[in-house]
Amino acid sequence: MITVQNISKSFGKNGQQKALTDIHISVNKGELFGLIGPDGAGKTTLFRILTTLILADQGSAEVAGLDVVKDYKMLRKKLGYMPGRFSLYQDLSVAENLAFYASIFNTTIEANYHLIQDIYVQLEPFKDRRAGALSGGMKQKLALCCALIHKPEVLFLDEPTTGVDVVSRKEFWEMLGRLKMEGITIFVSTPYMDEASLCDRIALIQNGHILSENTPAELVSAFKSDLFGVKADKMNDARKSLLDLENVDDVYAFGEFLHVKSNKGTVHQKEIFDHLKSSGFEDIEVLKIDATIEDCFMDLMHS
């Protein structure tokens, strides 16, 4: 459904600022595909290329079987785009915004109401309120409705959950799940690694390079090292101390734990515990854990 080949894009004079380098991605029809990466990785740039807003310097891309450069006019009818920044008319009401976006695609709210029904029922009580006066979560829902109202084949969502509370985020992902059932291909970007597991397949992006493209499960299973979660009284000193331990590849903070990465079978739980004990740390806790997407990301980033 989406094929990206050799896409590169630079900004600035003489193109010193490399935003994307040699990107390859392919997204299948009906897939919920996640583009995961930190801020500034190039996610939005890739979105803008695929939604025909800017031109790539190199390479080609097809969306819904249409070239993003040559067939951009046709393509615009088939894609829905929800930018990262809320960009609807703040001075128009909820209903007016929706009606306007429906009308410029030559359709009506009624025609595709079934697509947005689940989301719109929550907005309905506020339908005469101006969009600018909605809460953050409601704005996201309205933006999603507006991007969906013309029944796009492919939906591009650029960081839809950034700055949204945990409950709304969860709700939002449930909505995406339902949209997938309708057969809409969804291409979503997010800086939150924990959302990756909700996608069918993901691509990890960093500094304009795709690090990996896989299903979340396979990505995690491709993590070949042992991983330990460690807790002690002085976390920062413990991190430095653990780096001295033989066969330890990497130690990094992860929530309330330190994650200790080592080659498979070279380091044991007890060894870490004893090392910390003998170095004078207290309240030590060492657990053998499974890698998360974020661990994979860290791993790929360093290799």
Partner: protein, 372 residues
């Protein structure tokens, strides 16, 4: 076409929902047309005058009372030394000091001539010039009266004289307001047509809605027309409101060929909307657009002949004025409202403003394609 109607609907909805725009459309012309022509007036009144009378004679008192009674002057006070008079000018207590020398009357009678000294603060050149002119006028009249008193005038003037009779055409009372009102109307049209439209487009860029429109099948010309048409119509509303106000307040009766004004305004708005579009292509925030608009507005107004005649500007400024669309609108407004000009009379203006419209809009659309 239906898409275009939806776009228009949306634009009008937004315009009429914005209280700032509504105020701008109805209150701005009212205030500008009611207040400005009365206030921004070249007739200078309340010139502060200080009097130094060393003579204290009949004649000097007559002269002083004539000056005092004139509507143009306001007396600061009397003093005995020229030094203090100068100090008044220094302290801005007086704009003008008149010194009548000792033995003014006696010298005048004996030698048939006498001196009077005028010291004028010329920081504000116009005020200085006019103050001097008014004073000289009064002194001359005083002079005339003395001559009548002294001589029995012969029945026929022995010197041949040309008697000048004049009539002021188009503005019989040489009323400054009649001159200003049409000009202010032209500026109002420019504000609405050129700058409101530019701000409106830039606003779409600023809040990001233009991206949403760009990924939709809306065509560029539909978007641009959607911005131009509402402000084009608003221009006519402002013009009509302005004409009604100038009729009620200033008694300017638009003649039967008022349609000439509407025809020209239609072309003018087209040109100035192109300018607004051009402006919006090179700015990204409303703040930037505002600052650039302000810069152009100042030049447009000062070099439009609104206040000072273009003919009296230096040649280079006249060249700039020739490239200033506002100057043509100001001129046509005055021609139609004061002289009742016909289409034939303003034909050269129509041709020029049409060229402006084509060129500005061409560049606007060209740069729009390039920057987006």
């Amino acid at each position: 076409m239906t898409t275009f109607i939806f776009i228009l609907k949306k634009e009008f909805r937004q315009i009429f929902r914005d209280p700032a725009i509504l105020r701008l459309i109805f209150i701005m012309p009212m205030l500008q047309l009611i207040v400005l022509p009365f206030a921004a007036d070249y007739e200078i009144k309340n010139i502060k005058i200080g009097i130094i009378d060393h003579d204290h004679s009949d004649y000097s008192r007559t002269l002083v009372s004539k000056i005092e009674n004139s509507a143009y002057f306001r007396l600061t006070g009397y003093t005995h030394t020229f030094k203090e008079g100068l100090q008044w000018i220094e302290d801005e207590k007086a704009d003008l000091v008149i010194e009548i020398p000792h033995r003014f009357e006696a010298t005048l009678i004996r030698e048939s001539k006498a001196d009077v000294l005028l010291a004028i603060n010329a920081v504000n050149g116009t005020k200085g010039n006019l103050g001097a002119a008014y004073t000289l006028g009064i002194i001359q009249q005083f002079n005339q009266n003395i001559r009548v008193e002294w001589f029995q005038m012969p029945e026929f003037n022995p010197e041949p004289m040309i008697d000048v009779t004049y009539t002021s055409l188009y503005n019989p009372h040489r009323n400054y307001q009649l001159f200003m009102v049409p000009g202010i109307l032209a500026v109002l049209l420019t504000m609405v047509g050129g700058f409101l439209s530019a701000l409106n487009i830039v606003k779409e860029k600023e809040i990001g809605t233009i991206e949403q429109l760009n990924v939709s099948p809306i065509k560029k010309y539909q978007f641009i027309m959607g911005k131009i048409v509402p402000f084009w119509l608003l221009g006519f509303v402002i013009l009509t409101v302005g004409l009604v106000i100038s009729f009620i307040v200033h008694g300017i009766v638009p003649g039967s060929n008022i349609y000439v004004l509407y025809v020209f305004s239609a072309l003018y708005l087209f040109a100035i909307l192109g300018f607004g579009l051009l402006l919006s292509n090179f700015t990204n925030t409303q703040q930037q657009a505002m600052m650039v608009a302000f810069f152009f507005m100042l030049i447009f107004i000062l070099l439009s002949g609104l206040y000072t005649p273009i003919e009296s500007m230096p040649p280079w400024a006249q060249v700039v004025a020739a490239f200033n669309p506002v100057s043509y609108m100001v001129e046509v407004m005055r021609m139609v409202l004061l002289k009742g000009a016909t289409i034939k009379d303003i034909w050269p203006h129509i041709r020029i403003i049409f060229v402006f419209g084509v060129v500005l809009n061409f560049f606007a659309i060209y740069s729009y394609n390039k920057t987006n």
